[in-house]
C-alpha cells in the first residue's frame, strides 16, 4: 500500500496516535510513560473474532478481522478449546485444566474469570476433584446457561457426567450423573441438554442454586448406531442443529421450555467424486442468525458402508462449505474451499465473513458469494493448529 505518514501508520498499526515514539520526539515527553493496554471499545461494524490454537497448552487470540490486528490473548489451559462469553456483563470465563509441573504433577481444574476489558484474571473457581473431559477439540464440551449464571462442563471419569459451576457465587455446585450422555448445550435460562448413547436427548433443569431440579429423557432423536450425530452442532435462537455422519440434519427446538424434535432432512449428495457428507476435523457448522443460513463443512467418501464398531467421523479436511436456508431446508450454495479446511465460523453482520481454518492460518471468504478474499495475517507463523473460531459481535 502507499506509505502512510508515520502517525497514521502507527494509529492504524498500533492504534495509538500521537505516541512520543513518533519520528519527532519531544525530550520533555521522556521517559515515555509505561502503560498496559485494555481492549478498545468495539467500533460499530467492526468484526472481532476469537481464534483458538490448540496443541497441549492452548490459547485464543482476539483479532480484528478487518485490520488483522491482534487485540489481545487469553490462555485456555491444557487442551482448552474456547472461552465462554456471556450475553452480558464484563467478564469472560474459561474452563481450564492445568498441571502443577508443566505436563506432569498434580491436576488442577478451575474456571478462570477474565475481565472482559483488561483481560486480567480476576479470580478462579476450583473444581475439585477434577473430572474434566478433554481430547480432540470439540465445541460443545462446555456451555453457559442462558441466564449466564451457570457454567456446565462435560465430565469423563470414564463415566459420563456434568459439573455445574455457579459463576455468581463463585462456587462449584456439584456433579450431575447421566446414563451415558455427553456434551452440554444450553436450552433455557437454567437448562441444558445432552446427546445420549441410546439416541435420546437428555434435558436437565437446574434450580436457582444450580442443583438439578428435573431431568427428562427424550428418546429417538437420532439413530446412535446406524447414523450417529456429530456433537459439534450449532444453535440459532432456541433451536440446535446437528448433522449426522450419513448427511441427515436433526434439530432440537427448546423454545417455550419444552423439547421438540424437528423432522430430520437428508442433505448428502452423490456425484462422481463420491458421497458428500459432513467433514469433522474440528468445527464444521456455523449459522448466520439474521439470514437464517446454516454453513456446513463437507467432505467426500466413496460410500456409506459401516465400519466395524461404527461409522468413521471423517476427520479429514473439508473441501466444500454448503449453505442451507434453515427455514426452507434448501441448499442455496456449494462453496469450494480454496484450501483443505479444518473449521468454519461466520460473522453476524449483514455482509458476513466466513472464517475458515486452514490448520495454520485463517482464510476469509465472502459468506454470500463463497469467494475467498484473503488470508488473515498470512505472514504470522502460527505455531499451533487453528481449531476453533468464535466471532465476538
Amino acid at each position: 500500500m502507499k506509505r502512510m505518514p508515520f502517525a497514521l501508520a502507527l494509529a492504524a498499526l498500533v492504534g495509538m496516535a500521537g505516541t512520543p515514539s513518533a519520528a519527532q520526539i519531544d525530550p520533555a515527553s521522556l521517559p515515555e510513560p509505561l502503560t498496559v493496554e485494555t481492549l478498545p471499545d468495539k467500533p460499530d461494524g467492526a468484526r472481532w473474532v476469537w481464534i483458538a490454537s490448540f496443541t497441549n497448552y492452548a490459547h485464543a487470540d482476539l483479532i480484528d478481522a478487518d485490520t488483522g490486528r491482534l487485540l489481545g490473548t487469553i490462555e485456555l489451559g491444557y487442551q482448552g478449546v474456547l472461552p465462554q462469553i456471556p450475553r452480558s456483563g464484563d467478564e469472560i470465563y474459561n474452563h481450564a485444566v492445568y498441571m502443577s509441573r508443566g505436563f506432569h504433577g498434580d491436576l488442577v481444574e478451575v474456571v478462570e474469570i477474565f475481565d472482559a476489558k483488561t483481560l486480567e484474571i480476576r479470580g478462579e473457581i476450583p473444581i475439585d476433584p477434577p473430572k474434566a473431559m478433554r481430547g480432540l477439540p470439540s465445541i460443545n464440551l462446555t456451555t453457559l446457561t442462558d441466564n449466564d449464571r451457570f457454567l456446565v462442563q462435560s465430565f469423563f471419569t470414564p463415566a459420563l457426567s456434568f459439573g455445574v459451576v455457579d459463576l455468581e457465587r463463585r462456587t462449584f455446585v456439584g456433579e450431575i450423573e447421566t446414563g451415558g450422555c455427553a456434551h452440554a448445550m444450553a436450552a433455557g435460562p437454567r437448562r441444558f441438554f445432552s446427546l445420549c448413547g441410546d439416541g435420546a436427548v437428555l434435558t436437565v433443569d437446574l434450580d436457582e442454586n444450580g442443583a438439578e431440579s428435573a431431568r427428562e429423557s427424550h428418546p429417538g432423536f437420532f439413530d446412535a448406531e446406524g447414523d450417529p450425530l456429530h456433537p459439534t452442532g450449532a444453535r440459532s435462537g432456541d433451536a440446535w442443529y446437528f448433522a449426522s455422519v450419513r448427511g441427515v440434519m436433526h434439530a432440537v427446538d427448546a423454545s417455550g421450555g419444552g423439547i421438540e424434535f424437528q423432522e430430520p432432512w437428508t442433505f448428502r449428495e452423490e456425484d462422481d467424486a463420491g458421497v458428500w457428507v459432513p467433514a469433522a476435523p474440528f468445527q464444521h457448522m456455523a449459522i448466520h442468525h439474521a439470514s437464517g443460513r446454516l454453513f456446513l463443512l463437507m467432505s467426500v467418501v466413496p460410500d456409506l458402508e459401516r465400519k466395524p464398531g461404527g461409522y468413521d467421523f471423517h476427520r479429514g479436511p473439508g473441501f466444500e462449505t454448503w449453505v442451507f436456508d434453515i427455514e426452507s431446508r434448501e441448499r442455496l450454495a456449494r462453496h469450494k474451499m480454496d484450501k483443505p479446511t479444518a473449521a468454519i465460523a461466520v460473522s453476524q453482520d449483514d455482509a458476513p465473513l466466513l472464517y475458515a481454518s486452514t490448520y495454520t492460518h485463517v482464510d476469509i471468504y465472502d459468506a454470500g458469494t463463497g469467494e475467498v478474499t484473503r488470508t488473515l495475517n498470512p505472514d504470522v507463523e502460527v505455531r499451533d493448529v487453528v481449531v476453533m473460531m468464535q466471532p465476538w459481535d
Binding site: 496443541t55 497441549n56 491444557y78 487442551q79 485444566v97 498441571m99 508443566g102 505436563f103 491436576l107 473431559m133 478433554r134 481430547g135 480432540l136 470439540s138 462435560s154 469423563f156 470414564p158 459420563l160 451415558g180 450422555c181 455427553a182 456434551h183 445432552s194 446427546l195 448413547g197 446412535a224 450417529p228 456429530h230 456433537p231 462422481d272 467424486a273 463420491g274 476435523p281 467432505s299 467426500v300 467418501v301 466413496p302 460410500d303 465400519k307 466395524p308 464398531g309 461404527g310 468413521d312 467421523f313 471423517h314 476427520r315 479429514g316 479436511p317 473441501f319 456449494r334 469450494k336 474451499m337 480454496d338 484450501k339 483443505p340 479444518a342 486452514t358 490448520y359 495454520t360 493448529v385
Partner: protein, 172 residues
C-alpha cells in the same frame, strides 16, 4: 502416488465439473503445500484410502501409521516415542481404561480387538501422528471413541504422551 496426492486428485476430480482445471490444481497444490504440516495434524488416513478407492494392504511396521493394528488410532504412536504397541515409553504410565477398535491383520486374515491405551504423565511426544479412526464413534459412546483423552483415568496422570495399540483378543 501417495495417499495425499490421491485425496487431492480425487477431490479435484469431484470438483472438476464445478471448477476450472486451474483452481482444481490450485486446490491440489495447496493441499500438498500443507503436507509439511499435515503429519502433525489429525489427518484421516481412512478417508484418504477411501478416496483412493483401493486401500493398500496395511503394513507390519509398528512405527508407521498404516500398521494394521492402528486402524482406529488418533494420536502419537508410542512405538516412535521410546515405547511399543504394548509398552509405554520410559517415565510415562498407561491409562488402564481405553477405547477399543477392531482391526484386521492381513498376515492371518483374522480380526482382532485392539485396546488403545494412552501413555500419560510425560512431555507430549508429538511424533508419528496417526489418525485413522476406523469405526471411531462419538463421545456418547466413549468406549469406542478415540476423541476422548483417556489419560487421568484409572489413576493415570493427566498429561498425554502417546498412544499404544494393544492386541486384546481375536474378534468374535
Amino acid at each position: 502416488m501417495n495417499w495425499f496426492d490421491k485425496i487431492s486428485a480425487r477431490a479435484a476430480a469431484g470438483l472438476a465439473e464445478r471448477t476450472s482445471r486451474r483452481s482444481a490444481l490450485g486446490s491440489i497444490g495447496s493441499a500438498i503445500a500443507g503436507g509439511v504440516l499435515l503429519p502433525l495434524l489429525p489427518v484421516d488416513r481412512t478417508f484418504a484410502q477411501e478416496a483412493a478407492g483401493d486401500a493398500p494392504e496395511p503394513r507390519q511396521d509398528p512405527t508407521q501409521c498404516d500398521y494394521w493394528a492402528y486402524c482406529s488410532v488418533d494420536g502419537w504412536l508410542c512405538s516412535c516415542c521410546g515405547g511399543s504397541t504394548s509398552s509405554c515409553p520410559p517415565g510415562s504410565r498407561a491409562a488402564p481404561i481405553t477405547w477399543t477398535g477392531t482391526c484386521r491383520n492381513p498376515a492371518d486374515g483374522k480380526s482382532y480387538v485392539i485396546a488403545y491405551h494412552d501413555c500419560c504423565g510425560a512431555f507430549p511426544c508429538q511424533r508419528c501422528t496417526c489418525n485413522t479412526n476406523e469405526g471411531d464413534t462419538a463421545r456418547y459412546h466413549p468406549q469406542r471413541s478415540n476423541s476422548v483423552l483417556w489419560c487421568g483415568n484409572g489413576g493415570a496422570p493427566f498429561g498425554y504422551h502417546c498412544t499404544m495399540s494393544r492386541i486384546l483378543s481375536v474378534a468374535e
